[in-house]
């Protein structure tokens, strides 16, 4: 305990520099220029890299599709998502590097962003990569069997549209890279917690313009979780390697949590339209899928894996022979998608298993009957699906019957009945999942048309490699082609090897560091897609077998007996027929080192075996696009009961049962650990975790206060059950099992919620806020005296359409001054200085164009910004439009608004409408308060305007508020408003889902300096 060796723990060379990354606050923008001079002038800063340096020294990363969608380690010319790396500051330590990062000034030209994949495929959508001609990079249609005929003949059809959200299973340890450019041989030596697949190693080497042998990648012995995410450290490996080359010093970078949540990784969000041709009894004769998979700003290798990883298994656990599928790959202004545990499975099963539940509802059948009528019959394994997967083994009926048995189903039904009798909201869900293990490295080539595949040559297989060494005194050590993330690989491998050699597992030394210059590896190396049990474990088994066979031959010669008579056990090697005739394992094995003369004729001295395991079942796609996407196919059946709290709308999982068939279990304790972990992450996707962006593309989930990872308190007990139908395709009979609940749990809970509420659409994650919107119905009308505070579409000003933003609102102030005085104040730079909260200086750039240095914030939170403000559409003394931007280290804002002045006796009514888009760090971490903060600052601007116009700008200081608070959600500055400027209608904000508009840019700068 506490003795792990993680990347950040590794000693680094004296003189190692530290990097800090400058990231885009914009979802989509052109980079006009980057001014690095202030950062470079800071003592301790050694270098600043920008996209242009990266473009000069490296090549874009290879992508799966032949499309002009270049991506470098830093943004070149254009940024395509919030958090995209724009510059790297390299300094003596991380503190100075971050100080330097704050001094980098990037001039952006904002572009419209597109967030929703359904919008991104439209002809008029903003295009992320103009050279590609559009955002939809790939559309492939697949047909297996005769789906059209089946639909034409069907009794009826049942259809559904589902959307799988963006989420990411955040590892405890973020990315770490230490890169060292070795001038001696012009190579790179990099330590990083990369997880594989090592098919990305050539991608990195190509980008660095070196042969693979000149990029030595070393993976430490421990990694604090990965769940797929640590593939995405690879652009930073290249970036730090370049930084080391430029500075001549080793460069270390440790990703922080904000960077991680902004830009590390996400699963693709997917919109699926699914339709089934169904017979009266619920039997499905055909399926149609339309998958729109959203990969964010770039298509990073090996994307779009999630869209094809499940391809052969698209029909799940069901014997459905007709299938039509359209797969579409789209880009939007979000962080690039990559590997996340489950990898395409959660998206597929959300559609398929929700559909099965809908079939039961629409045909008024028992959902279990619908499942059972469609299951692949027991006894038909190995079973070839219509899309080409070869399911190795299984008995789905037995698994389900076992799960339902022992009163488990009866108990759930009784709980539901009892709850409903008491008027409580309770539902039951089921999910049936086929879980792939060890991906066919050729599956992704299914995205290419058959003719193209033929031209390029076949891609297939999945190679696993393990080396077992026995040293001169007989101690055994093992290295393997995997990366450690905490799964217990060392325990499992030592157990497998010990079984062969008859020694104690504790005596085996397992070194799972990986060094691309010294260890065995192939492109399939790494830890992902449940490849350990069907892959590396098998290679370990084979290598140990070979050692055993060789030691048996040595022993037979020394013990004067036959090889078949040799037995291994209790640390000894001996004759079965005469157990006294034997010797310690170490003594026999040592012969291979000490006494080559005693070796059997056919054997070389030395005792080291590397085994390569490459199962023949992993064939390339056929000409008909059939693909066996994985080697093993486990089975999961889940059922659960959930109750929804009628007050809070929170979903409570009342009972959860998860049945697994993962073939032969190598180590039951480790298996349970994996299943528990996947269950928690499945629960997270069902109820808690989502990476969200507002409509302008600002990331809203930059801390763990917004991105909600369930803690121990949120995780219910789960009852795990197993049956074992060993895989005939792996010598150990074992299958992958670590992703099943990521696939089954979200949809099982969604099905239970659908049952509880009798609804068709269940949005994930199922948050109380969302359920409330579905269930609560119309809100009681506000009392007459408070009508003004209520959002009401009728109050929307006529011009509101012109003013848009993620945060919108309006308000008014009545000021004892005539419109002309207010007008003059608004157009005078010196008055503006007094009006703009926190303003240090205003400079008139041209007529009606001002630049201001401001310090804005709420309470103690404050940032320095440069504000750029335009006034336009001036109607003297009556109306003006304002627009502008704010930018600074905390982020950026763009806004637009309209101000109107109406004289009323000796007063003027100032009306304002605004729309603001806030982006960057402050939007990512201020999720709870950002809207309100913008509202407050804007309100303060107008109150100051009123004071300045009446000559009272130095009026009352912000002091103690009145004891009675303003009744409505009104201005903070009410105490300052004094008698001259009385807020009549509180500034109001429209709900984001409401038809929104109204915004003012400068207003944003209004982040007022109030303390």
């Amino acid at each position: 305990m506490g003795a792990g060796r993680y990347a950040d723990d590794m000693p680094v060379a004296a003189g190692t520099l530290h990097g800090a990354v400058v990231r885009s606050p914009h979802a989509h923008a052109m980079i006009r220029s980057i001014d690095t001079s202030k950062a470079l002038a800071l003592p301790g800063v050694h270098a600043v890299l920008t996209g242009e340096d990266v473009r000069a020294l490296s090549d874009p990363f290879l992508v799966v599709l032949k499309q002009p969608i270049d991506q470098w380690a830093l943004a070149v010319e254009r940024v395509r998502h919030v958090g995209e790396a724009v510059a790297l500051v390299v300094a003596d330590d991380r503190y100075i590097a971050e100080d330097g990062a704050d001094l980098i000034e990037v001039d952006y030209e904002p572009l419209p962003a597109v967030i929703d994949p359904r919008e991104a495929v439209k002809a008029d959508a903003p295009v992320l990569h103009p050279a590609a001609g559009g955002n939809e990079l790939s559309v492939r249609d697949f047909v297996y069997g005769e789906p059209d005929k089946a639909f034409a003949q069907a009794d009826r059809t049942v259809s559904l549209e589902v959307e799988y959200p963006r989420s990411s299973y955040t590892p405890m340890e973020c990315f770490v890279v230490v890169a060292n450019y070795l001038r001696g041989d012009e190579s790179y030596d990099v330590l990083a917690n990369f997880q594989g697949p090592f098919s990305i190693h050539p991608v990195m080497a190509r980008a660095l313009r070196v042969p693979g042998t000149k990029l030595r990648l070393r993976i430490p012995a421990d990694s604090g979780g990965s769940f797929g995410i640590k593939l995405s450290v690879f652009p930073y490996i290249v970036l730090m390697a370049l930084a080391s080359k430029i500075t001549g010093r080793p460069v270390k970078w440790v990703e922080d949590r904000l960077e991680h949540l902004q830009a590390a990784n996400s699963c693709p969000n997917r919109v699926t339209k699914i339709e089934a041709a169904v017979e009266k009894d619920g039997r499905v004769t055909a399926l149609r899928f339309d998958n729109l998979d959203d990969y964010g700003g770039y298509l990073r290798a090996p994307m779009p894996g999630p869209l094809y990883r499940m391809h052969g298994a698209t029909t799940g656990a069901y014997d459905i022979r007709n299938l039509a599928m359209t797969n579409r790959v789209v880009l939007t202004n979000k962080m690039p998608a990559a590997l996340v545990r489950g990898f395409g499975g959660p998206q597929l099963y959300l559609a398929l298993e929700r559909l099965m539940q809908r079939i039961a509802v629409e045909l008024d059948l028992n959902p279990l009957d619908v499942i059972r009528r469609n299951l692949i019959p027991a006894g038909s394994f190995p079973y070839r699906t219509c899309a080409g997967a070869l399911y190795d083994s299984g008995d789905y009926q037995l698994a389900i019957d076992t799960a339902l048995g022992d009163g488990r189903l009866d108990d759930l039904l009784a709980r539901r009945e009892a709850a409903r009798k008491q008027g409580r909201i309770y539902g039951i869900g089921f999910a049936t999942v086929v879980e792939p293990g060890m991906s066919n490295m050729g599956y992704l080539s299914t995205i290419l048309p058959a003719q193209v595949r033929e031209r390029q040559g076949p891609k297939n297989g999945a190679v696993s490699m393990v080396t077992v060494n026995v040293d001169a005194v007989g101690t055994v050590s093992v290295t393997a082609d995997l990366t450690v993330q905490g799964q217990g690989h060392a325990t499992a491998i030592s157990q497998i090897v010990a079984d062969q050699l008859g020694i104690d597992p504790e005596d085996i030394s397992i070194n799972l560091e990986l060094d691309t210059q010294k260890d065995q590896w192939s492109i399939a190396a790494g830890t992902y897609s449940c490849r350990f049990s069907p892959g590396t474990a098998v290679a370990a088994h084979i290598a140990a077998q070979r050692i055993r066979d060789k030691v048996a031959r040595i022993a037979a010669k020394q013990l004067n007996t036959l090889v078949d008579d040799i037995v291994f056990g209790n640390g000894r090697v001996y004759s079965r027929s005469n157990p006294d005739n034997g010797a310690a394992f170490g003594r026999i094995a040592g012969t291979a080192h000490w006494s080559p003369v005693m070796m059997p004729d056919e054997d070389d001295p030395g005792l080291s075996e590397m085994a390569v395991w490459s199962p023949p079942e992993l064939a390339p796609p056929t000409a008909k696009d059939e693909i066996n996407t994985s080697l093993t196919y486990g089975f999961v059946f889940d059922m659960c009961g959930v109750e929804i709290d009628p007050v809070t709308m929170q979903v409570r999982v009342d009972r959860y049962v998860s049945m697994h068939d993962a073939g032969a279990l190598i180590n039951p304790l480790l298996a349970e650990g994996q299943i528990h972990g996947a269950f928690v992450q499945g629960l997270a996707s069902a109820l808690y975790e989502e990476i969200t962006y507002d409509e302008s593309g600002a990331l809203e989930t930059g801390t763990f206060a917004e991105y909600l990872v369930p803690t121990a308190c949120e995780v219910p007990a789960v009852e795990l059950l197993h049956i074992e139908t060993p895989s005939p395709f792996t010598p150990l009979g074992a299958k992958g099992l670590a992703e099943g609940n990521c696939m089954s749990t979200p949809v099982c809970i969604a099905n239970a919620v659908a049952d509880a509420l009798n609804v068709r659409d269940v949005p994930l994650p199922i948050t109380p806020n969302r359920l409330n919107a579905i269930v609560a119905g119309a809100e009681p009308a506000p009392p007459p005296d408070l009508k003004a505070a209520a959002p009401a579409a009728a109050e929307v000003p006529a011009d509101k359409d012109a003013i848009t933003g993620a945060i919108t609102g309006d308000g008014e102030v009545v000021v004892k001054a005539d419109p002309a005085a207010i007008w003059d104040a608004l157009l005078d730079p010196q008055s503006l200085k007094a009006i703009i909260p926190g303003c240090h200086a205003v400079e008139a750039v041209s007529e009606n164009h001002y630049r201001a240095e401001v310090s804005l914030g709420v309470g103690p939170i404050r940032g320095r910004f440069t504000a750029d403000v335009h006034l336009s559409d001036l109607v003297e003394h009556r109306a003006a439009k304002l627009s502008g931007t704010l930018s600074g280290p905390l982020g950026k804002a763009e806004g637009r608004g309209r101000v109107t002045l109406a004289g009323e006796g000796d007063s003027t009514r100032i009306g304002y409408t605004y729309g603001v888009d806030v982006g960057g760090k402050v939007a990512s971490v201020g999720g709870r308060m950002i809207r309100r903060a913008a509202q407050l600052i804007i309100g303060e601007f107008f109150e100051r305007l009123g004071r300045v116009a009446t000559g009272g700008e130095n009026g009352k200081a912000a002091a103690a508020a009145d004891a009675a608070q303003p009744a409505a959600p009104a201005g903070t500055a009410s105490d300052e408003a004094a008698a001259d400027a009385t807020p009549k209608t509180p500034p109001r904000e429209t709900a984001p889902e409401a038809p929104s508009t109204g915004a003012s840019s400068w207003l944003k700068r209004l982040f007022g300096d109030k303390s």
């Binding site: 007050v647 909600l708 409330n772 309470g859 905390l890 105490d975 709900a991 303390s1011």
Partner: protein, 277 residues
């Protein structure tokens, strides 16, 4: 995620701390438990040039009954107050609300006064201060003053503390809620910031004082008189929900917040009435 450079001061007395604030004013921030401040520093959301650490000032590490007031010093952690043997008897409402402040681990460092000083709209302790009618004790070179909750918490993250003032203690009236106290909070996860928190105490003569946090910039309290029927209560709370309005954030809409107020507050009022009856 490293803070910008700052000077760290650890005065040995309240006098020195106050002197430091007099000298540095608005450029200084006071560090007590650091459970909000350290995160904001690391995110560079705040960049003070001076940090005045009062966490080890023994003179501020006291909880005492003074007349009918409970005085909690500025270095007292939330865990220490929770462990105060007289808490249940003297401040039954705080005894109910305090376990909802953050997590076990954060309560070991986070201070009672720090939470109030931070003035987060959804925090439990500012709600307690408002509901119980407590006061904040501030000291500066020019003397001491006391602010009521409404005087102190002026807005979201905004307070009436002047830049040269140190919060030395917070004072709660003892015994409030002895005849009935209830607290309920809705958050996405255990320990999260409240989406809505509602507190209620019996306030004498059959009245119930009810407070709502998390819905608008500052906690809000109203009196529910004994004469109101349960139907009246529902109507009054319905009105309150619209008065508060509520705000949207990444977890909850204003509508959901109002719905929670409508569903929870009448129940709590009923519970407190039942206790005090």
């Amino acid at each position: 995620m490293k803070p910008a450079p700052f000077t760290y001061l650890r005065p040995d007395s309240v006098g020195e701390a106050v002197a430091a604030l007099s000298a540095h004013g608005g450029d200084a921030r006071v560090l007590a438990g650091g459970q909000s401040l350290m995160a904001m520093l690391n995110l560079r959301l705040v960049e003070p040039s001076v940090l005045v650490d009062i966490s080890r000032l023994e003179e501020l590490r006291t909880i005492r009954l003074e007349g009918n007031m409970i005085e909690v010093g500025a270095a007292v952690t939330q865990a220490e107050l929770l462990a105060w043997p007289e808490l249940d008897e003297q401040a039954p409402f705080i005894a109910r609300a305090l376990p909802w402040v953050g997590h076990f681990q954060t309560r070991n460092r986070g201070t009672v006064c720090g939470s109030i000083a931070h003035a987060d709209p959804s925090s439990e302790l500012p709600l307690s201060l408002t509901l119980l009618g407590g006061e904040v004790v501030l000291r500066s070179a020019s003397g001491e003053r006391r602010l009521t909750a409404a005087q102190f918490q002026t807005g979201m993250l905004q307070t009436g503390r002047r830049a040269d003032e140190l919060i030395t203690a917070v004072r709660f009236p003892a015994g409030v809620g002895a005849n009935g106290a209830a607290f309920r909070e809705v958050a996405r996860r255990h320990g999260d910031f409240a989406i809505v928190s509602v507190g209620a105490v019996a306030s004498g003569g059959g009245s119930v004082r009810i407070g709502v946090g998390g819905v608008t910039d500052t906690p809000r309290c109203i009196e529910i008189g004994a004469e109101l029927s349960s139907v009246d209560v529902v109507e009054r709370i319905g009105h309150l929900a619209w008065e508060l309005g509520g705000y949207d954030d990444v977890h909850a809409s204003a509508r959901y917040r109002r719905d929670l107020v409508r569903r929870i507050a009448p129940k709590l009022i009923g519970e407190v009435r039942a206790c005090s009856a």
